[in-house]
């Protein structure tokens, strides 16, 4: 036996796959080779350690639902429902028939836009969309309305123009009066100013005369004394 051959047998040895003779041969060979013994012991120890690892179990049990069973159960449910609702008496059957007809009529009506109306003593039944109702005025009515509106507009415009003219005249007269008043006030003010100026001039002239007389008097007196 060689070392390589011994290593090939390690797995079978560890998992009990060797016959007794081969097992004994391997054990004897390994005892003679410490490196092989160390390797084999290490692998066995590794196996022991791997067994220490815990594992978690599934938390719930899977169940595969049968699709055919689901279809069957749905059909059976429908049959049970129908048998429960199915009328047994003649009156019940008549009621179901009437209800079915009304239901069918409503469904058909909703799908075809059924319109039931009564107008001018006539009953009308229409399918599909209803024609649009006449809304608005005739041409003559429109013309009459336009004429009325035009007349009202003309009257309103005349009143407006007249009022505007009256207002303008009043404003013009007021402006003229104001202007005249302003001119009168201005004239009065000017006259007062002229009068005041003349008075000042008169007073000034008088004062000059007085001063001139005084100066002349002093001159005459001086000349007289010098003589």
């Amino acid at each position: 036996m060689t070392k390589d051959k011994a290593r090939e047998l390690f797995i079978d040895y560890m998992y009990g796959g060797l016959d007794i003779d081969t097992q004994n041969q391997l054990e004897a060979f390994v005892q003679q080779h410490p490196d092989l013994k160390e390797e084999l012991d290490g692998m066995m120890e590794t196996r022991q350690m791997l067994q220490q690892m815990p594992v978690e179990s599934p938390t719930e049990q899977f169940v595969m639902m049968d699709p055919a069973a689901n279809k069957r159960s749905f059909r059976i449910s429908l049959e049970n429902l129908w048998s429960a609702l199915k009328p047994t008496s003649g009156f019940g059957r008549f009621g179901v028939a009437v209800a079915s007809f009304v239901f069918l009529f409503i469904i058909t009506g909703s799908l075809t836009n059924l319109n039931f109306s009564m107008q001018d003593g006539e009953i009308s039944l229409r399918f599909g969309e209803q024609p649009p109702a006449q809304i608005g005025y005739t041409a003559a009515q429109v013309e009459l309305l336009i004429n009325q509106v035009q007349a009202e507009n003309a009257e309103l415009m005349a009143d407006f123009v007249q009022a505007a003219q009256e207002q303008q005249e009043a404003q013009f007269q007021q402006t003229l009066a104001s202007f005249a008043s302003y001119l009168e006030e201005q004239r009065t003010s000017d006259l007062e100013l002229i009068d005041f100026s003349l008075a000042n001039l008169q007073e000034t002239t008088y004062n000059r005369f007085v001063q001139t007389d005084q100066v002349l008097g002093e001159i005459i007196e001086t000349v007289s004394l010098n003589r």
Partner: protein, 192 residues
């Protein structure tokens, strides 16, 4: 595995007895759930994989050639779904495992309480298992946790028995190296 009962239930289902399939679910749900749980270490992921497995089995059961191999066939479906899921989220998981490569040793050393150490060790066991290459991890899970025979595993994986044994050998060796590098040994689990 009681192949005869499975085969009979499969035949009953194919004959129109829907409840036979629910009996098959009852017989296999725990094992498929545990199998998926070893992959993802997450109960929700395991439940989802289990559910998908049975739905697929329900839809494809009429394609099963040998009713006696229902178990192997079911594991193969679950295994393929696990691989698909791993491909889908592989990058995310790989990233989280990268961070673990340096963390375990210091965390383990810091843990003074024995119970805490044991819990940490269990977490690291799982992480180490997830770090294995997919082919090795599948074989380790099927053999160590599901107790399948080498022949059954070979059937599920469509490989030879020798290939299965070889993967198991390298898987166990790789786990041993990882445990050594993280300072995890069997004494950690004897502190109860």
């Amino acid at each position: 595995m009681t192949h005869m009962e499975d085969a009979q239930l499969v035949q009953d289902f194919l004959g129109g007895n829907h409840q036979a399939f629910n009996k098959l679910i009852g017989r296999w749900q725990d094992r498929i759930h545990h199998f998926a749980y070893r992959y993802f270490a997450n109960n929700d992921d395991a439940a989802e994989i289990t559910q998908k497995t049975f739905i697929k089995a329900y839809q494809k059961l009429n394609t099963l050639d040998d009713a006696g191999k229902f178990g192997s066939w079911l594991y193969r479906i679950a295994n393929n779904l696990c691989l698909d899921e791993l491909k889908r989220v592989g990058r995310k998981r790989a990233t989280s495992l990268e961070a673990l490569k340096t963390a375990p040793q210091t965390e383990t050393e810091r843990a003074a309480d024995s119970a805490l150490m044991r819990n940490e060790a269990i977490v690291l066991l799982h992480k180490a298992l997830l770090q294995l290459p997919t082919e090795q991890r599948m074989v380790v899970i099927m053999k160590e946790y599901e107790g399948l025979t080498f022949r059954e595993i070979a059937e599920i994986l469509d490989e030879s028995e020798n290939t299965v044994k070889s993967r198991l050998y390298y898987g166990l060796r790789s786990l041993k190296k990882t445990f050594d590098s993280w300072n995890i040994n069997k004494e950690v689990f004897s502190y109860d």
